[in-house]
């Protein structure tokens, strides 16, 4: 599955000469959250099918009743005239084939409706599932401590308010993490310079050096995770 977090192309930056390719929607990517999307699609499609089927059956029933009434009356009119038998049969056949054609027409229209409706609903629900998928991917990155830049949603996506809320949170956490990294980096630097001012001999000195090294490594690791994600290959 393509990464929807790369929805918006990012311009060339320093150290990232290759522009990120524009994200393209693929047909296979439209069912991002099968459970959510198929549930809605199935509910609406089955409901429409039931309505169309029930009313279609009523239409057919009424038409058939009319045809049978005509056939009966015609039979009553021509029962004493055997020369009219063929005419009567032909009329009955015509009426029956017309009713049959109506059934085929209705089934065709119903199937078309179901197919078009399903496709449209998948597109519609994709506009909800897309942002959720994107946010879920950012959450997984957050779980690894990676706090890169959040790219905006694609045009036409829904849940804009929710995504804005997520982006605000992400930006705030990222800004705070950046400040912390700067503060820890500065503290490590200051303490390294100041370590000779205190009791630098003995176990305490070694422990401070060790703790500062660990802190610097931690800061470096955190800095790496705060940078934007590396550009993907085109």
């Amino acid at each position: 599955m393509s990464d929807p977090t790369a929805a918006t192309p990012v311009g060339p930056r320093a150290g990232a000469p290759t522009p990120r390719p524009k994200y393209k929607r693929h047909l296979s990517n439209y069912l991002l959250d099968k459970k959510l999307q198929l549930r809605y699609v199935l509910v609406v499609t089955i409901l429409s099918g039931i309505i169309a089927g029930a009313l279609g059956f009523m239409i057919y029933q009424q038409r058939r009743a009319a045809s049978e009434s005509i056939e009966r009356d015609l039979a009553a009119l021509t029962q004493k005239d055997t020369s009219q038998d063929q005419f009567q049969e032909q009329i009955a056949n015509d009426l029956q084939s017309e009713d049959q054609a109506l059934v085929y027409k209705m089934v065709g229209v119903g199937l078309g409706l179901v197919i078009i409706l399903s496709l449209y609903l998948i597109l519609m629900t994709h506009k909800v599932a897309g942002p959720l998928f994107k946010v879920a991917m950012y959450f997984e990155r957050m779980a690894d401590g990676r706090l890169g830049v959040v790219t905006p949603l694609r045009k036409g996506d829904m849940l804009v308010d929710f995504f804005t809320s997520f982006k605000d949170m992400h930006d705030a956490v990222r800004a705070r993490a950046k400040d912390d990294v700067v503060a820890m980096d500065k503290a490590a630097e200051t303490l390294r310079a100041a370590k000779n001012q205190g009791d630098y001999r003995g176990e305490g000195h070694d422990k401070l050096i060790e703790a500062l090294e660990a802190l610097e490594k931690h800061v470096a690791d955190r800095k790496g995770k705060l940078t934007d994600f590396p550009p993907r290959a085109a």
Partner: protein
């Protein structure tokens, strides 16, 4: 997302008995109007269009069928009532004339009309022929002329049953016509009733269904707000029946990742503070700043 609903996160019970289960309320069903109404209205609108479009078609066909059936019923023959008629040769009664003493005595009237060509008897002539003839009966014992008794046509023996059969048939036909009309009206009422029920039911179902998606989003939104202001407290589970369970798990992973970041920072900084204190740098301004950072981070995890 609207902020009308109160905090969706369950409130822990006093005494630490675990979170109280959140109860769904009808007031809180529309928590993300834009999303929920869009999906619900689509469902309702589509069903309405289908119901109206196909309903009109149904009614048109039903009208045709009713007309055909009515025509057929109207053409159904009913047994006729036999006619009872008086004999056609009876002439209009003529008032009898009193005998005029100045006129000669009238000839006795015949009991029946003589056959044609036999009218050459006494008193016959052109003036005689033009006179209206009165049918009379003569009582021979008293020689009195009496007007002839009216002829009564014979009544068929099955007249009563035929009359009953005729009117039964007529009433049955009328009833069938009325039943057809009622059937057409019933179809219309059923269509309108079903349509209205469908629209109302779908609106309620759509809002409830989308609420199960909007609910978790609302809850996550509240946590996002807390995280934005630097609070990473405990995340509770979703309510039973909510959707987006997987998405919520992703959120919990993300939240746990941020919490872990804070804990790692606290551990590293605390180690530095401890080592600095051992080295005699406990009162250094940087260490004071680091202590503040630790306090802030620890507070954010409470």
């Amino acid at each position: 997302m609207t902020e009308k609903r109160k905090d969706a996160t369950p409130t822990p019970k006093k005494g630490g008995g675990g979170p109280a289960p959140y109860k769904r309320s009808w007031k809180n069903l529309l928590i993300n109007k834009r999303y929920q109404l869009r999906f619900t209205l689509f469902m309702v609108g589509l069903s309405t269009v289908l119901m109206v479009g196909l309903g009109i078609w149904v009614m048109r066909v039903a009208n045709e069928t009713t007309e055909v059936s009515m025509t057929s019923v109207r053409g159904t023959p009913c047994p006729k009532i036999p006619s009872i008629e008086a004999p056609t040769d009876e002439t209009e009664p003529v008032p009898m004339k009193l005998p005029d003493p100045n006129e000669p005595a009238p000839a006795p009237a015949p009991a029946a009309d003589p056959p044609e060509g036999e009218g050459s008897g006494a008193g016959s002539g052109s003036a005689e022929a033009e006179r209206p003839r009165v049918k009379v009966q003569i009582d021979e014992s008293s020689m009195t002329m009496m007007p002839q008794a009216p002829t009564v046509a014979p009544v068929p023996s099955d007249l009563g049953s035929k009359v009953v059969a005729h009117w039964t048939c007529e009433l049955k036909l009328t009833a069938r016509l009325e039943a057809l009309e009622r059937g057409r009206l019933r179809i219309l009422l059923v269509l309108i009733g079903t349509g209205l029920l469908l629209v109302l039911g779908l609106a309620a179902y759509g809002i409830k269904m989308t609420h199960k998606v909007a609910g978790p989003l609302f809850k996550v939104g509240l946590y996002l707000g807390k995280m934005r202001s630097g609070r990473f407290d405990k995340v509770y589970n979703l309510r039973k029946g909510d959707q987006l369970v997987e998405f919520y798990e992703h959120f919990k992973h993300g939240h746990a990742g941020i919490v872990q970041m804070q804990k790692d920072d606290i551990a590293r900084v605390k180690a530095v503070i401890a080592a600095a204190e051992q080295s005699g740098l406990g009162e250094h301004a940087t260490i004071v700043e680091l202590r503040e950072m630790v306090t802030r981070k620890e507070k954010s995890l409470e």
